[in-house]
Structure formats: structure tokens, C-alpha cells
Amino acid sequence: MDVAALKASWAKASGLGDQVASYFYATLFSLDPGLRELFATSMGGQRDRLLAALGHIVSHVDDVERLVPFVEQLGRDHRRFEVRPQDYPTVGRALLHTLAHGLGPDWTEQLEADWTEAYTIVSGVMQRAAAAAEQVMPPWWDAEVIAHERRAGDIAVLTVRPAHELRYRAGQSVAVESHLRPKTWRYLSPANAPRSDGTIDFHVRAVPGGQLSPALVYQTRPGDVLRLGAPIGTRLTVPVGPGPDLLLLAGGTGAAPLKAVVEELAGGLPERKVALVLGAATRWELYDLPALHQLAEDLRWLQVIGVASDDPVDDHCATVAEAALQSGPWYDRLVYVCGSPAMVAGTCQSLLEAGYPAANLRLEQFDDKTYAPLREDLTPEAALAEVTRQ
């Protein structure tokens, strides 16, 4: 296989950007119209994910040690999209046809052979990983909504009960899908440490014009069944052994995984001091502050600070970062940051400027633009650089 030629041909084809992905899916659905059912109505995020994943595979095609775990994870993850083994050759044909179309006169028989070989290897690894996962876990967990509580207008707290045990660590995320928005998966973090009855709380804010969150907040009712993917994420979990004291910084529903972390610590992990700063635009949107204050009363190692950044009737408005820096210093603490992309970016920026070491900052974001395994593949430094560049 001519790796250099492969990379050069991808660079040229992917230079056409979104068009390449659109053409690929149009070709795929022409080959097999039934495959359209596997995708959400809106294909925008899907195209971004495809290009990012393909780009990652091509650029690491000669780095097997890094590539194989990523492709395996991709294969396991594709089980919840209900991809069947016979779909892989169809995807391969659509991919080759797209490359031939995009490269025009530069598409040669040699390139076709190289791409065919590469695709055969990659799709083989994906399918074997998917088949192996079949023995270990379901493609997704059905989870019945047993409680749905609206808080603060556009926020809801959902409690679900998975039909089978779903093992996760506090701080992890799971992909969630609703029958109200078929095939639209978004990542949510359990807001509680694992319970003996297996139930999970999710905190959801309806993103205006969003695709899944408004359905979860406004239309979901007890009795509805959601689908949950396998838990992912490593950066917002807490080491099981003794560790440094923590500073947890949460914006809005970013409080969910950090509340779970506090609960997990309370459940018997080696004790450490924890300060949790919770922020929202208005006091009204600090939807979980009373519960967290109650936790702080019960746990003497926990300190909770609630702050509004833009409240019309609050004279002490501050961002999470400002409130944290004022109540500090916390230079010796491990800092977990979770919230909207803007909140995470602003908070990290402020902490770095105040002299907090980058190595102490922990953050993790799964969005619909990138396949989650690709995010997990990022080094912490790269993740931080990506966030603060925004």
C-alpha cells in the first residue's frame, strides 16, 4: 500500500470539505435507500463526524498502535446505530465512488487498489470489534423514564431506569437517543453515583433550536423509553485511591457529572477536600443549588458556592471563574471544569491567566461534531489547547 499516495489523495478529496461528505451520503443512499433510516433527519453533524473520523484514520494509517484501538472503538460504537455487516461493503463502494468523483483525473487504478485494501482492513477491524462486543454488552440500553421534573423553565431533571445494569463511573458520559428524535444521539452525564437500584438522573437544558434536548425537556413523559449508549470518558472521573483535593467548576447543567463525583466520594472513596462552584446566568437557573447545599451540610469536606453571572436582581454577579478565584487560592487542587463550550473556554482561560498550572485542569467534552472515540484519543494538552483556542 502506497501510504503517501493515500494521504495525498485524501488531502485533495477532503479539501472539498462538506461537499465530499454530502456526495458520499447521496451515493450511499442511492446504492441502498434503506440506509437513510439509520440517520437523523439533519445530516449536518453526521458529515462533520464522517470527515473527522476518515481524516483521523488516513493520517494514522501507518501508525497501527494508535489506529487500531480507535477503529475498534468506532466499530463497537456503531452497534447502537444498527449497522449490519452487509452494510460495510455498500459503504466501501460509496466511499470509493466518492473519491473517484472528487479526484477526477487523479483517480488511478493504483489508488483504487490502495483504498480498497485500506477500507477492507479498517472495516474488518470495526466488524470484529463489534462482534466481540456482542458477547459482552448490548448495543444500547433501553431505559424507562420514571420521573421527569421541570426546573427553571428550560431545564428538566429526568430519572431513568435501564432495563439491564449499566455500569459507569461518576464523571462519565453516555450517548442518549429518544424515539421522539430517532437516530439523534447526544451525550449526557449521569448526575448521580451508581445506585443500588440502577436508576440514573440526567440534567437537561433545552438548547434553543437544538435537536434532542428540547424534546427531552418539553415532550418527554414518564413511561417513555430512551436508549443509552455505553459509558465513555476518563477525564472527569476521580482516581479510586487517595488523591489531591479538588476544585469543581460547573456551569449550568455541567453540574451533573460533578455532582455525581461528589456523591461517589461521599460513598467511601478516600476523603479529600472538595470545593464546588456552580454558576448560571441567573439565580433562577441555579436549579440544583438547594440539593447541593444540603449535601454540603451533610459532608464536612464539601464546600458549595452558587453564583449568577447575569442576574437582573442579584447585586453580586460573577462568573464561575471569578467566584472561584475570589474564594481561593486553590493552586494545589486538581480543577475539574464542566459546562457549555463557552463557559469551559472562559474558565480555563481565566485560571491559566491567574497562574494555575495547565496540568491541574481537567475537562472533557463530547459533542455531535466529532465521534467520541476521536475526542478520547486527544491528549489532555491538545484538548485544553482546542478549548482555549475557541
Binding site: 456526495y23 451520503y25 435507500p33 437513510r36 433527519t41 439533519s42 435537536q211 436582581v313
Partner: protein
């Protein structure tokens, strides 16, 4: 959605989508986010349905063309198993583009409606606060030596609650959705505050 009957089977035309009206809530302009989302959902479903219809029709068209070719020539075209007809791909691209444009427009609309509602909610809160602070100033002026910080706070809260109750009673339309609980909560606050605010009230 007063202008969009739920049970009508005929799909919405782009004209109807552009001119659809969502029921306003409150005494100022504002929209029920649930209805905004329901409209968005319906648009998404219809777009998806049309997308699917286009795909099916295109595939059917291709199949018929192949059958026609086979009848005329006594055999299938050479590229038949490939099934990769550029015009079919072009139609697919068009269909998806159409779907995305509609969806993007609906999402932008939904987002701006929600932003508007939030802005109005903020104005309402500011006005309430203004009213409450005015009542506090009046209490201070009238209280003289009987002034206590507690009574000042009670005046503030009671004014806010009274004010909010007045506003809420104008929001009949959305009571079903969210406000029943809030009304009861506010009414019970007022009940508890009432005796405390009598001239001989004692804490």
C-alpha cells in the same frame, strides 16, 4: 398552534410554514417554548417524510428506467449492478439540501423565539424588582420608629408576590403547562405573609 390544526393530514406548504403563528403567552409578546418545539418537530418530521418520498421516487424511477431498457434491448444495461446513476445522486443531494435548508430555518426561528422570550422574562423581573423597591421606600418613609429590617424584607417579598400573582393571572393561556404550581406556591407565600403584615403583626 391556533393556525396549525393538529389533525390535518395535508403537509404544510413552505408558505404556511413561513406564515405560521404560534400562540403568544403573557401580556407581552412571548411564546410557549413547548409549542415552538412542537412546531419544529413537526417540520422536521415532514421534511424527513418528503426526503424519504423523494428518495423512494428516485429509486423507483431508476428501477423503471432499467426495466424499460431491458424491455427495449432484451437485457439489463451493463452498469445495472452498480446502480450508480449520477443523476440519481444529484437528486439525492438536492433532496438533502432542501431538507437541511428547511430545518435550519426552523431551528433559527425557534432559537430566536426563545431568545425573545428570555429577554421579555428578564424585563418582567426587572419591572417587578422596581415595583418592590418602590414599596420598600414607601414602607421606610411610613414606618418611622417601627422600622425593622425583617418588615422591610417582608414588604419586598409581598410586593413581588402580589405583582407576580397579578401577572400570572394574565397568563391564562399557559397555566396548564407550567404555572399551576407556581401560582399555588405564590398564594401560599401570601397566605403566610398576610398575618405578619397586619398592623399588630408579630414575628
Amino acid at each position: 398552534m391556533s393556525t396549525l390544526p393538529q389533525h390535518r393530514r395535508r403537509p404544510l406548504s413552505p408558505h404556511e410554514i413561513r406564515n405560521s403563528r404560534i400562540r403568544q403567552i403573557g401580556f407581552r409578546k412571548g411564546y410557549d417554548p413547548g409549542e415552538v418545539e412542537a412546531l419544529l418537530h413537526r417540520l422536521a418530521e415532514e421534511v424527513a417524510a418528503r426526503d424519504g418520498q423523494l428518495t423512494t421516487l428516485a429509486a423507483e424511477n431508476e428501477r423503471l428506467q432499467r426495466e424499460l431498457y431491458a424491455r427495449r434491448h432484451g437485457q439489463l444495461p451493463d452498469n445495472a449492478p452498480q446502480g450508480l446513476d449520477e443523476s440519481l445522486i444529484a437528486r439525492q443531494l438536492q433532496a438533502q439540501q432542501y431538507a437541511e435548508d428547511l430545518l435550519a430555518a426552523a431551528q433559527t426561528n425557534a432559537a430566536s423565539l426563545v431568545a425573545q422570550s428570555k429577554h421579555q422574562a428578564r424585563e418582567i423581573v426587572l419591572a417587578a424588582r422596581h415595583t418592590a423597591e418602590q414599596a420598600v421606600r414607601e414602607y421606610r418613609a411610613a414606618a418611622g420608629p417601627t422600622y425593622t429590617p425583617d418588615r422591610e424584607e417582608l414588604t419586598r417579598l409581598a410586593t413581588l408576590a402580589h405583582w407576580a400573582i397579578r401577572q400570572f393571572s394574565g397568563l391564562r393561556a399557559q397555566v396548564d403547562a407550567t404555572d399551576d404550581a407556581a401560582r399555588q406556591e405564590l398564594a401560599s407565600i401570601l397566605d403566610r405573609l398576610g398575618p405578619l403584615l397586619q398592623p399588630d403583626g408579630r414575628r
